[in-house]
Amino acid sequence: MIKLTGIYKKFNQQEVLRGLDLTINAGETIVIIGRSGCGKSVTLKHIVGLLKPDQGAVEVDDVNIATLPPLELQSIQKKFGFLFQGAALFDSMNVSDNISFGLRTQHLMSDEKQIQARVAECLRLVGLEGIEHTMPSELSGGMRKRVGLARAIAAQPQYILYDEPTTGVDPIMSDAVNDLIINMKEKLGVTSIVVTHDMVSAYTVADRIAMMYHGMIQQIGTPREIKNTLDPIVKQFITGTAKGPITLEDRG
């Protein structure tokens, strides 16, 4: 279980998170929605320990990672897989080395045949068989994203964080990514935290949806509750209308 309590985070003078509280239960898929710049990716980076809060606690399996020394934090970070917004593939390595990187550094597999088999399996799951020796610079944006996804799931982590998994991916592949997120949960019991603007994807994969606004959770509920919300802010966001309490200048 992941529990964020009273998280505050400032960058220079800009307050991004203002007392964020969020609990993510084991085995569930939670989707975080909100306007660009409202702090969704910052929240993900707090969960995985890439950022430390100015105030508040981030508990992963009852351990507050906000105060952990680097070495202990590193062992907690091994529980996570992270799909970055821009995929964050290592430019100097080919696709195979990118996907197997976590397997090697965490010493999860030592046999090269086993590693290559796992790489091929992950690539098959994201629909990219046979590109093991391709360099990231030769891939399109959508393909990079899918390789990033393959890398995130390769080590079979307990928690997977997806930062806009369907952005830049065609609609058919987008649906396949949604199926993959659901399968990860159903077959392996993975806890998933998905940040997205894609409401179709959100309704498809989510057990619960949390809407972030002004550095806090505006509303959290099941997809049905969010669809039928009476909150004007959430309603405006999910229906995607320009007129409403959220103005264009308001970054949320």
Partner: protein, 294 residues
């Protein structure tokens, strides 16, 4: 404090002001002073912050250097990149400098003493103790330091460094330690090459242009140079190697703001490394001479 509150406070505090000088003028002056102090304070705190983070990075490097497993493949790759691939450019620099030194020293001593004397001594000492270490380090700072900052800076802005954390690898161990070790080892190695090539360059000019007998050039160096003169130069190289690696990795790790940020960080890295090499050289020469090394 608001302007009005500040004015009231100043009114109660400022007893002495010159006849004809209004309170408003005094207040304006005081506010200007405040702005300057604020700016200065921010600047000093900023520098202290950078120094603190650099020291912290240095200790992290030391910690991760001695922690198993050793990434020999990566260290070998960096040694090759930093050392072998820099050999041509450092060699060309040192040969040219050695030749110019011989020419200048020969001409100067000919003007003053009527014949070119102690050319070998001047070239040898200059190369081994000063020009070899400093010029090699400056060339490395420009070639390798810039490349390290640009590479790490790009990795930072494209979240590749964050990705390393999430894949169970420590970026300091994986990215910084191999580059640090390579700089610390390869800068002295390249300097030794530079010293030799600079002296050889000086030899050709002395023998073929100024008709100095080759044995005299040789003895001008061998008769006066001691082991501690060579150690003097090598100690400097190690320190300069540390400076190049530390500054370039730090600037890369703290890059912000996309492509423009990478460009700025790279420029700053090279400028800071070069200035620090020259400033450190002054202090280091004094310290080494004081403790009797060279």
């Amino acid at each position: 404090m608001s302007y009005e509150l500040r004015a009231k406070w100043l009114e109660s505090k400022v007893h002495k002001h010159l006849p004809g000088e209004s309170l408003e003028q005094k207040l304006e002056e005081r506010l200007e002073e405040d702005k300057f102090i604020k700016f200065l304070g921010k600047y000093i705190v900023g520098i202290a912050d950078h120094i603190g983070k650099l020291v912290l990075l240095f200790f992290q490097i030391i910690f991760w250097t001695f922690r198993r497993p050793y990434d020999l493949k990566n260290i070998n790759k960096q040694m090759n990149e930093i050392g072998v691939n820099s050999l041509v450019v450092t060699s060309l620099t040192s040969v040219s400098v050695g030749m110019v030194l011989a020419l200048q020293m020969g001409a100067a001593s000919k003007n003053i003493l009527g014949e070119p004397l102690y050319v070998g001594t001047a070239v040898g000492f200059s190369m081994v103790k000063e020009l070899g270490p400093v010029l090699t380090s400056i060339v490395i700072a420009g070639r390798v330091g810039a490349a390290i900052t640009a590479e790490l800076g790009t990795m930072r802005v494209t979240e590749q460094i964050d990705a390393l954390y999430t894949l169970g690898a420590n970026p300091v161990k994986y990215l910084v330690v191999p580059r640090f070790l390579s700089c610390v080892v390869m800068v002295p190695v390249l300097t030794v090459f530079s010293n030799i090539l600079g002296i050889i360059g000086g030899f050709f000019v002395s023998v073929y242009k100024m008709a100095i007998p080759s044995t005299r050039y040789y003895h001008d160096i061998i008769d006066f140079m001691r082991g501690k003169d060579i150690i003097h130069g090598l100690i400097k190289c190690v320190v300069f190697g540390i400076i190049i690696a530390l500054i370039s990795c730090y600037k890369g790790f703290t890059t912000e703001g996309g492509a423009e940020g990478v460009g700025k960080a790279t420029t700053q890295s090279v400028v800071i490394s070069m200035v620090l090499i020259l400033v450190t050289d002054t202090f280091l020469t004094n310290i080494l001479q004081f403790i009797g090394i060279g």
